[in-house]
């Protein structure tokens, strides 16, 4: 995956470039807003990582300009400003996701991978299939190995989100933001308990587990034979 990192702090930028390379991605760097915008225009990147405060041109303006020109490349906005209002501004400018500094690299990686593989709205599937687990988004039914599984509404949404990102790491924060729409950090790890409940429903009576814990990062739903 080709990633463009527009970040003015050299050390952060190089850390990201090195880490992304280790994760098998190719990252280019831009140190200021104008260079970043020019590179984003003709670079053919799959994901843009844009810092909010940049010299010459700020991050939100880059995203707005690109969106105004019809560029649909997914954008992850990085910012030290993390209040509700700042996030709303970032997303309204055309950003697809918003991550507050300081962040964990695993969190950033999970998010850009989710962004890069996000299908366009018109081609969203109505059925997700992972191994013998099937989730029907229209009838709200979940079936594994032919057996129906009864889920609470929130459990359904949790599973839906995990299956939409099947094969990708999904962090606890991503789940909290996308399934519960909370942007704060609960003191207890509530997500783990919800996951273990879900796991007991979809994995317990089956030989092959589908819902995996990725240590130090989050969770992933995946057919083990892949």
């Amino acid at each position: 995956m080709r990633v463009l990192v527009i970040e003015d702090d050299r050390e952060t930028a190089q850390f990201l470039q090195r880490s992304l390379r280790e994760s098998g991605h190719n990252a280019d760097l831009a140190g200021d807003g104008e260079t970043g915008l020019a590179m984003a225009r003709d670079g053919g990147y799959e994901v843009l990582i844009v810092d909010r405060m940049l010299p010459l041109r700020d991050g939100l303006s880059i995203v707005q300009t690109l969106r105004g020109e019809g560029t649909r490349t997914p954008v992850l906005i990085l910012s030290a400003l993390g209040e509700v209002d700042d996030r709303v501004k970032g997303l309204r400018a055309g950003g697809d996701d918003y991550l507050t500094k300081p962040y964990q690299y695993t969190e950033l990686l999970a998010r850009i991978e989710a962004l890069a593989r996000r299908p366009a709205p018109e081609q969203q599937e109505t059925r997700y299939v992972v191994g013998d687990l099937v989730l029907d988004r229209l009838s709200h039914k979940v079936v594994r190995g032919g057996e129906p599984i009864v889920l609470q509404p929130r459990e359904f949404r949790l599973l839906e989100y995990l299956m939409k990102h099947a094969g990708q790491v999904v962090t606890r924060t991503m789940l909290l933001e996308n399934v519960w729409d909370y942007h704060f950090d609960p003191q207890t790890n509530v997500i783990d308990v919800h996951i273990s409940r879900l796991r007991s429903k979809i994995d317990k009576s089956f030989a092959k587990p589908l819902l995996h814990t990725v240590r130090g990062a989050g969770y992933m739903i995946r057919d083990g034979s892949d």
Partner: protein
């Protein structure tokens, strides 16, 4: 600038001067006009009397000729305090009367006028006096002058004029003096405000503007300024407290982190130790970041920075969502979570912040409840209850547990930053949970209090239904559907 020039340049004094000038001008014009009119009237009425007398004299002349006229004039002129008379024959000789000669002011054709004469008898003898006279010709070449002394009237008018002048001078002096006095008192009160602000700027934030208790507009201004100063002092205090707390409570984990990294570096046992040390260092750093985030959020809330993002929402759904989020956690700890929410309530608030506040309360309740699994294995033995109801103009959210509770004397302290009561030191957490709830409550114009749940602790969060102030505009588009 000296005190005097400052006084003379002050707004109240200048206003007083302008007012005074206008007053004196108006008074002068009025007095002048009245004096002029009075003089006119007096002269006219005297002349009228003289005319009537002349008519009488003419009748005497027609009845008895020049001799009779002259006799009557001589007789009348002899009376002390009488009118003034002069009868002159055709040769220009005085025939009778108490005037020595025809006054020059009446000689050249003027029929009436004011003239001066010198009385030949009486107390004012020899001194010139003012009189009004009428001159007319009597058939037979005689000239008759009849006049009346108006010296006393003139004197009276003059003294009245002087009186008026003096009163204007005195009034002006009083006005200027009063203006100075008023401006000085106003100026002095404003000076105290200036002094106070200068002292405050120099660093003494505890100073306040003294009130004189009159409740006038300057007092009210001082009151508002004092209220503003208190708020600023409070904010500064909060800021100082934050920095003190950061210094005190963040240095400890930072130091721990540093020691751990140093120990790992010093160790000669190889990569495994390094790895462990780094993993722990990152964990510690993450905890620090969380604490920092909470602190920043509290500070921003207390600065009132997030007030614009309030919306009309349904508090029952907030409670239900948080209960749903925490239910598995409570269940795992062997606790039951019950929700009793009054339906149909609305609340103007920030959903995210109120959710976070309620989450913190529920989190605490779970953390401090005795493990339900060890108590007879019956979850109901240790329930956590969340209640929502309307009390007057407030939404009241209550989270109760059956844990050890908090002693009454510790309850206020438990709401402060970083305060972790001794009993809870061993449990995880930054000690910021409740103070965040308190900051959220304050931002919404509400409050948080801790009560005895007999047994256990009950946290009561009050939020005004209409938000921090009733002027918050609510647009139809802001209504959140749940």
């Amino acid at each position: 600038m000296t005190a005097l020039t400052r006084l003379l340049l002050s707004t109240p004094f200048r206003l007083a001067l302008i007012y005074m000038g206008a007053f004196i001008l108006a008074a002068g014009l009025t007095v002048g006009f009245i004096a002029w009119r009075a003089n006119e009237l007096l002269t006219t009425s005297v002349v009228e009397t003289l005319r009537a007398e002349v008519v009488g004299l003419r009748e005497q002349y027609q009845a008895g000729g020049p001799a009779r006229l002259s006799a009557i004039i001589a007789e009348r002129a002899a009376d002390p305090g009488s009118s003034l008379y002069l009868l002159v024959d055709s040769a220009g000789q005085r025939a009778a009367g108490n005037l020595r000669q025809v006054p020059p002011e009446l000689r050249d054709g003027a029929q009436r006028g004011v003239f001066t004469y010198i009385p030949q008898s009486g107390p004012a003898q020899g001194r010139p006096r003012v009189a009004v006279g009428v001159l007319f010709d009597v058939p037979g070449g005689l000239t008759l002058v009849v006049g009346r002394d108006i010296e006393d009237l003139r004197r009276f008018a003059w003294s009245m004029g002087r009186l008026g002048l003096w009163s204007i001078i005195i009034l002006s002096a009083l006005g200027v003096g009063g203006g100075l006095l008023i401006s000085r008192s106003v100026l002095r009160r404003i000076e105290t405000v200036n002094d106070t602000t200068r002292t405050i700027m120099a660093g003494d934030l505890s100073r306040r503007i003294p009130l004189n208790g009159s409740g006038d507009e300057l007092d009210r201004l001082a009151e508002s300024l004092n209220a503003m100063l208190s708020r600023i002092e409070e904010l500064m205090g909060a800021l100082r407290e934050v920095s003190d707390n950061i210094a005190h409570d963040l240095k400890t984990p930072l130091n721990r982190l540093r020691n751990r990294a140093e120990a790992a570096l010093r160790s000669s046992e190889g990569a495994g130790i390094y790895r462990d040390g780094l993993v722990k260092t990152i964990e510690e750093a993450d905890e620090l970041i969380k604490t920092f985030n909470s602190l920043l959020l509290i500070a921003r809330l207390e600065g009132g920075a997030i007030a614009e993002s309030m919306e009309r929402l349904n508090p029952a759904s907030i409670i239900a969502d948080i209960a749903e989020l925490y239910e598995p956690v409570a269940d795992e700890a062997g606790l039951s979570l019950s929700v009793a929410a009054e339906p149909g309530l609305t609340l103007t608030a920030n959903r995210e912040l109120v959710s976070q506040a309620v989450a913190n309360l529920v989190d605490n309740a779970i953390k401090y409840s005795p493990d339900g699994r060890r108590v007879n294995g019956a979850a109901a033995a240790s329930p956590i209850s969340i209640a929502l109801k309307r009390v007057d103009q407030d939404i009241e959210i209550t989270v109760g547990d059956r844990g050890p509770g908090v002693a009454p004397e510790d309850r206020q302290r438990a709401l402060q930053r970083f305060v972790r009561l001794e009993k809870s030191r061993s449990r995880p957490g930054s000690g910021l949970g409740l103070s965040l709830v308190a900051a959220v409550a304050r931002l919404h114009g509400g409050s948080i209090r801790l009560e005895d749940n007999a047994p256990g602790l009950r946290a009561v969060l009050n939020l005004p239904v209409n938000g921090p102030n009733h002027a918050v505009p609510v647009h139809a588009g802001q209504l959140r559907e749940h």
